[in-house]
Subunit: 195 residues, 2 copies
């Protein structure tokens, strides 16, 4: 395949943005897949902050990290990402290289536990000032459920309003698929420009 | 910059899809920029077919190719791409690695000469059967003019109808830019599946 599928695409962006010693955020820990990946990328001198409202997600991810000797560089909060600034001090503003959100229900997950556009947007607004220049915030939006269509539409409307002199906002989406293909939105903080 | 801008993105796809000896199509020759790039990629044993309705485009591109010693592997047709099958014999079906369209008026070009969605779609429908497996067709859609909005909408509506078991269709678009950022659509022919 010539075109990158969604996962290889977001993986390659994370690998480009995150270096040893970086600070990164997994806004939706879930099965811990991205937390583990980010923990490997930042290495023992970097740090990952992870958020999830479900105890099992936190517990399982702790174990996953432990078994890969990645526990040390990760702090997990059993809290919604909309409380980001309550947990991550403002000294980290301008220092985050990457943040990732997996939104909607995950394939194989509990379909009754879905993310809400209001809390997602609240989290994005809190995290954006924490992004470093060339830091990225990735939204992977699974919209193959009823609430997902609304969430997709609300999030697209929101990110379109981000000022183009401060952020690049890319939509990456397979548009002829059956509707379980996620939409990806990538926000990148631009270098300061003289206006 | 972490995210690829439009030109590096389409360039990297062409470099991935097109090899020495490949057959490729520049459906909108214009200034000859893509024709020259494709001619370099296919090399002296490959071939590029180029289409443009403007004599000056054909003439200037001939000269450009001549001066880079790339003339031999290119055939230019002074004809609209909607006449594709009149010019490229059906023996090339299933053998094209890449086709590229630059649609709408080009920055710096004549704003009164714009492409039309009807002829573009007619061309796409003719070219798709010519694509090899893992062959790609790229649409770069400049929609910063009145007719461009309609063209963008008509093309998106059309490509969404392409069957997902035959084609991947990717939308790659900076969505918070001032409206001169082009939309990119990439169509890739999938491997045959048993259905």
């Amino acid at each position: 395949m010539i075109i990158q599928k969604v996962l290889p695409f977001t993986d390659s962006l994370l690998e480009k943005a995150v270096r040893r010693g970086s600070i990164a955020i997994d806004a939706t820990v879930g099965n811990g897949y991205d937390t583990k990946k980010l923990a490997s990328l930042v290495g023992p001198r970097g740090h990952v902050f992870g958020f999830d409202i479900q105890s099992t997600a936190i517990k399982n991810t702790h174990q996953l990290l432990e078994s890969h000797n990645l526990r040390k560089q990760v702090t997990l909060f059993k809290s919604g990402h909309e409380h980001f600034t309550n947990h991550v001090p403002s000294t980290f503003q301008g220092k985050i290289q990457a943040a990732i959100f997996n939104l909607g229900y995950l394939p194989g997950g509990h379909q009754h536990i879905v993310t809400q556009p209001e809390t997602t947007i609240a989290a994005i607004e809190q995290i954006l000032p924490y992004l470093a220049t060339q830091g990225i915030l990735i939204l992977v939006i699974y919209h193959g459920h009823d609430a997902g269509k609304k969430e997709k539409s609300a999030l697209l409307t929101y990110v379109r309003t981000l000022p183009h002199y401060e952020y690049y906002v890319l939509q990456y989406e397979f548009i002829n698929q059956s509707n379980d293909a996620p939409l990806v939105v990538v926000i990148e903080k631009r270098k300061q420009m003289n206006r």
